[in-house]
Symmetry: C2
Subunit: 214 residues, 2 copies
């Protein structure tokens, strides 16, 4: 993955490859008490638009995933680019298929047979993310860059802020924006791919013309 | 932080310093729908046993934190050591005190004034973790090492498995353990600091003598 990346090149396939390269990724779940939990998990394989990971049946992570079938993940490269992904988790119903997947994952990840020698590997269960909303994010440059994307049957998430027709073109939002990503016009517009989503424009607008996007 | 680290040296203060050095840490929250969310956030300051971070008022992260006052975080160093921390989030009530904290954080983190120039910094709100359960984790060696710790008024989390008095000393658990961290005895015992918590021993025990720790 070289440095000449164009925004147009960033899509779901790119972000799955990115997360596989980052490999050690934070996986968040909700526990039985409704509280967040997070741990670093390896992205084991990316194939056919699916991101695969494993969980040992004894772990709290496994219990959370089986109960909620949902996870949110984030991975960051050493040059501070980030991908987030959030969605439903699937597990093949058939045990033989799950063993086949574990074997394939162990072939692709040479450190795994050391950690789980012999048949102990089958205490691991394979899971994959398929339908998910994601975002690529690079805070290292000026302007920052963010690109939303969707995986499988999901649609892109819509977040941040939008300037409505109530805009009086006073320019207060553009002056206050720390990222300088609001452009003049009728109405003024936020350049979404550079927006920090800090919300300062909405707080500043004298005409209450700025709303959350939905 | 050098390589001659002894398990006895790993405590809450060590892990806070570790997370500050890692700096880019995954923060998980639960959103309005009860689903997990996670993003990379900077650890801005560690002081008086508190871990400080900031959130802009326009962000979903800010809304989650204000609503739940709870987060779970995980950070990993480039040599694959990990610290997790999970607990209550506090915010000073007094606005002047919050501004003072933001100013101090901006002094300590030179990239912040670039990202939020001038008074735009005050769209950020300062938060800290004080009472929390944590774990230090090093999966890079054999055996693996994990050390639980507590911060503030919390107690150490108790997780994993324990061999009860129903143990018949057959040795099946020790033979199956991928980490080889079960020692002979009456009963056999799991060396908790090296345990993967995969649960294979519990599945294997013919006498149902192994339980979750609580």
């Amino acid at each position: 993955m070289d440095g000449k990346l164009e925004i147009e090149d960033i899509d779901a396939a790119y972000c799955l490859r990115f997360l596989r390269e980052v490999r050690d990724v934070a996986f968040a779940t909700v526990d039985e008490e409704g509280l967040p939990a997070v741990r670093v998990i390896d992205v084991m394989m990316v194939e056919d638009g699916r991101l695969y990971f494993v969980a040992a049946r004894g772990k709290a992570f496994y219990a959370d995933i089986m109960r909620t079938r949902f996870t949110a993940i984030v991975g960051q490269s050493q040059d501070f680019r980030t991908c987030r992904l959030r969605g439903r988790v699937e597990r093949p119903d058939d045990e033989a298929e799950r063993h086949r997947l574990i074997d394939r994952i162990f072939e692709l990840n040479p450190s795994m047979p050391e950690l789980y020698p012999g048949d102990s590997r089958y205490v691991l269960e394979p899971f994959y993310l398929q339908d998910a909303q994601g975002e690529y994010f690079d805070l290292s440059g000026k302007p920052i860059v963010r690109v939303p994307f969707a995986l499988g049957a999901q649609r892109e998430a819509v977040e941040g802020f939008v300037i409505t027709g109530r805009c009086q073109e006073c320019g207060a939002c553009a002056d206050t924006c720390p990222e300088r990503c609001i452009e003049e016009g009728s109405p003024y517009t936020i350049v979404q791919e550079h927006c920090l989503r800090c919300g300062l424009c909405r707080e500043t607008c004298p005409y209450d013309a700025i709303e959350r996007r939905r």
